[in-house]
Subunit: 362 residues, 2 copies
């Protein structure tokens, strides 16, 4: 699929073809951009080439832009060597902590007039080139960590990259960025991991009571520790500041629970919880357009063909399925299909499905 022509004219070199690098490469290929792939692992390069992400690097390559997508610990070093090896190229990186890398490059005397760090807020649970998707960055924020040593004209190559990949450009200083991601990504990771640690020695029958709430709170606790040690190490000061404030709240909470009948104890607990209400309400909505669809829940017997029959009948009724989620009830031979459709279609669909004998659960 060829979309609108890219504003990038020269080839783009992608260094590191894991999830992010491969996704960058696939997205650029869709725009008709020439992509050159490099990675410490020849196997990863071969896989990415097979995926249609570009061609392997060769002597004499003259990239216009270089995207460094390697682990955070080695990003500064790889950026420095790319700046040295390709003296006409603009270099960016996609690491999730920004101030330290720029400082490192300055300390090394690297040519930061050609470096502009960036950070796409996108990811998946799986890593590696096979997890790469051309649309990974579509509609996601992509921070450009602005500094004063790169000219406006040179910086535009990075803007073009983000535009090509469908990201939403957000300009911040490296320090603003690092404080921001500490708050909305790094501290939540720590909070979730420390919660999940409490399950290590817990009785299984207690864990058997777990519902969606605790699953949500601890989902990111399954993240890769190797990657997160690097991220947290690189952003230690910002993460620590927020964790200290968090601990102060926690201490007050623990004190209040020591004697919940004491004067003021319930009020303090209520205030902390109400603060959580106020805080979470400030997070912007999921897609900006959460409310586009209405949902209908249909009970589906766990027999072969039942779900296919349901979907075929929805098609016959003439309603377009916007999204679908099937969930098996625990230990029961019935599933719940949550169907998302346009709001104006939901009543008719509900009526017609019921008339065809489907059980509508909500």
């Amino acid at each position: 699929m060829r979309l609108v022509e890219s504003r990038l004219t020269g080839p783009v070199r992608v260094v590191g073809v894991g999830l992010l690098g491969t996704s960058v490469a696939l997205g650029l290929r869709q725009r008709g951009v020439e992509v050159i792939l490099a990675d410490a692992s020849p196997t990863h390069v071969a896989i990415a080439v097979d995926l249609g992400a570009g061609r392997a690097a060769a002597p004499g390559d003259e990239p216009e832009l270089i995207v460094v997508a390697v682990p955070p610990d080695v990003t500064a070093q790889v950026v420095a060597s790319e700046l040295a090896a390709f003296p006409d190229a603009i270099v960016t990186d996609v690491a999730s902590v920004k101030a330290g890398i720029l400082q490192d490059l300055r300390d090394q005397g690297a040519d930061v007039t050609r470096y502009l760090g960036s950070h796409p807020l996108a990811g998946r649970e799986r890593g590696g080139p096979l997890a790469g998707r051309a649309d990974l960055f579509q509609g996601r924020p992509w921070v450009v960590a602005a500094h004063d040593d790169i000219s406006y004209r040179r910086a535009s190559a990075v803007d073009d990259l983000i535009l090509d990949l469908g990201g939403t450009l957000v300009e911040m200083t490296p320090e603003q960025h690092d404080r921001g991601v500490a708050l909305i990504s790094h501290v939540p990771q720590v909070v979730s991991s420390l919660m999940a640690r409490r399950f290590i020695d817990a009785p299984s029958d207690a864990l058997g009571l777990a519902g969606q709430g605790v699953r949500d709170v601890t989902r990111v606790a399954a993240s890769d520790p190797d990657l997160w040690v690097q991220i947290l190490g690189a952003n230690a000061a910002s993460v620590r500041d927020i964790l200290v404030a968090y601990r102060d709240d926690l201490d007050r909470f623990i004190d209040a629970l020591a004697d919940p009948a004491a004067p003021g104890a319930r009020r303090r607990v209520a205030e902390e919880l109400a603060g959580g209400n106020a805080g979470v309400s400030r997070l912007p909505g999921k897609h900006g357009t959460d409310k586009r669809f209405a949902t209908l829940t249909v009970m589906v017997d766990d027999r072969p063909g039942q779900l296919a029959r349901l979907l075929a009948e929805i098609g016959e009724i003439g309603v377009n399925l916007e999204d679908l989620r099937l969930e098996h009830a625990q230990g029961r031979q019935v599933g719940l299909a949550e169907i998302a459709v346009l709001p104006e279609a939901v009543d008719r669909l509900s009526t017609e499905l019921a008339a065809r004998g489907w059980r509508i659960a909500g």
Copy 2:
């Protein structure tokens, strides 16, 4: 819809027709059980009657079983007055903390030979009678807080209730229950609320970077503070014990971040994160057995009938679909169907679908 006959023979009185009470009543009505509704709010009773949840209470009612579904703070008092008002009835409640209620009843000299507390692990984000659903408890754990003063024969009325409503009966002592829910519900609530509190004064551009991870961690922070003050107050000792252990981990984490380059600091951070991995892996899967299934992601064009065709072909291939999730890629005319099947079937399914022209995305 009338399902298998209930083993309950007499009427069931439901006191409190919020989400849980109304759902109990609706589920029992589906089994053909006579349901009597009582609530401090006549409006709520009228709504629940309109929903088909039963009839309003009347003088001379002789319930076999009474289900008290009122806020935790007043549960013990309402249970005591129901025990006194209906001297032949068995009484249960559905409050989410159990030991304190039994102790209260004993302290008051209530007839606990007719009381057996219980707790269905089910809920929705919405409250009130209109949120009630007959299938709310289907496949969900429902704890019976066993004690020695009620006879086996009398307790069977509560077992029958849980069976009627499709819950999975879990027997625990009140103390085991309270420690269990502290771990898998009450502490996660606190951890999430305190995280969300950090957003109150945060710059909006930082919050604009939020992705799915932080949304998941803080989703339950939107819960009702009034209800949670009651729950946390009633289970303060168990919640506090776990929070103290959590704080000890947090203190170590904060220390390690003070100088992440110090000897051993990275190892300590890595250990805390790896502990989170180990803990979260102990949570049973959505279906009780997370690891039963392997998943395959198939790209599905966003044209009518495509998903139905995919499911029909999976049926032809002879593989049973265990679970399915459809996700539209943002801004693209293609969806990703995540298909869960038994692990031994995944390779064959992948090969045969690819042979039929489906694009396998992972």
